[in-house]
């Protein structure tokens, strides 16, 4: 079995790792903070089929996706003074549906519906880190 597409945001020059800006309206969080949906369309990304090899071929790609997090009844607290972060929330189930397009290869792919996917780990909640950890 071969990995033949690896679709992700590139690492930024300041070392932010696969981080991109969420546009207005793409993220919906319930008032109680227990459910969230992130849906973005035609996000410019890269396809690096041989990732994580260094100096790997890279081509432009587009990614549309929807991720849903739903809190379980299991509370979670991480409090790490050494690394300066505190998280309070819940374990969560998470699901993903996505579409990928790699124009240079004429390749398009669409996942099955959201409810057919699964995730092995998820959390949702609130966090402070860095300078806000001490405030």
């Amino acid at each position: 079995m071969n990995q033949f597409h690896d679709i992700h945001t590139p690492i930024a020059p300041n070392n932010l790792y696969w981080v991109t800006v969420i546009p207005q309206g793409a993220l919906t969080v319930s008032a109680d903070g227990r459910r969230a949906t992130l849906a973005m369309r035609d996000v410019p990304v890269v396809d690096q089929p041989r990732w994580p090899a260094r100096d790997t071929p890279t081509v432009p790609a587009r990614l549309s996706f929807r991720v849903e997090w739903v809190a379980t009844e299991e509370p979670v607290t991480y409090d790490d003074p050494l690394r300066q972060f505190r998280f309070t929330g819940w374990r969560a189930s998470a699901r993903l549906e996505a579409q990928v397009e790699v124009p240079s290869e004429g390749f398009r792919w669409q996942s099955d519906p959201l409810n057919t996917s699964s995730a092995s780990f998820g959390i949702i909640g609130e966090e402070v880190n860095g300078r806000y950890f001490q405030l």
Binding site: M1, N2, Q3, F4, H5, D6, I7, H8, T9, P10, N14, L16, Y17, W18, V19, T20, V21, I22, L27, V29, A36, L38, M40, V43, V45, D47, P49, R50, P52, A53, D55, P57, T58, V59, F65, W69, Y78, R83, F87, G89, A92, L96, A98, G106, F107, W109, S111, D112, S118, A119, F121, G122, I123, I124, G125, E127, N129, G130, R131, Y132
Partner: protein, 165 residues
């Protein structure tokens, strides 16, 4: 496989013909794979530059639109250092400012942050390409997150929403 995910990755690339059992092992054991990692049973000739010539230019061309949002933030309020968020500094020990989600792990991908956050990994599922081929996606490190709230950059507090994809 010796438990070092980098070696698992290398092992996977050495073999062009895995049995299904091996695929499951590889799919569960791969590290540092992407937001949508797609797998195919038959060998595929991916775009390859054997000499390495032009790979940097190729990357820069491909990455430019993908980094446009962060680039715009970095160019904003530049006299104070820009408005792009900081990576988690102590993750530099990993050499990549990244780590897989998990219990007791830092959920956020940005530092000096206060707000809502969610993270998940190990996404798996199936899909279909434009040739009708059924292709699975995902590995244990296929992860998504969001951070929405306040963050400190360029010597002031800002509001924003970011995702790790």
């Amino acid at each position: 496989m010796n438990g070092d995910p980098r070696n698992i990755k290398r092992d996977a690339w050495r073999s062009w013909s895995f049995e299904r059992r091996d695929f499951l092992l590889a799919g569960l054991g791969m590290a540092a794979a992407g937001a949508a990692t797609l797998w195919l049973a038959d060998p595929v000739t991916a775009a390859t530059d054997i000499t390495g010539t032009g790979l940097t230019q190729e990357f820069e061309t491909a990455a430019k639109p993908a980094l446009a949002g962060l680039t715009a933030l970095a160019a904003e309020d530049v006299q104070n250092g820009g408005a792009a968020p900081f990576p988690i500094p102590w993750l530099d020990k990993n050499g990549s400012f990244n780590q897989a989600p998990g219990a007791d792990q830092e959920p956020s991908n940005i530092f000096h942050f206060k707000g809502r956050v969610a993270r998940a990994n190990g996404f798996t599922g199936m899909g279909t390409d434009n040739r009708g081929r059924r292709i699975p996606f995902g590995t244990i490190t296929t992860d998504y997150s969001f951070m929405q709230g306040e963050y400190w950059a360029g010597r002031t507090e800002r509001r924003g929403a970011f995702t790790h994809t």
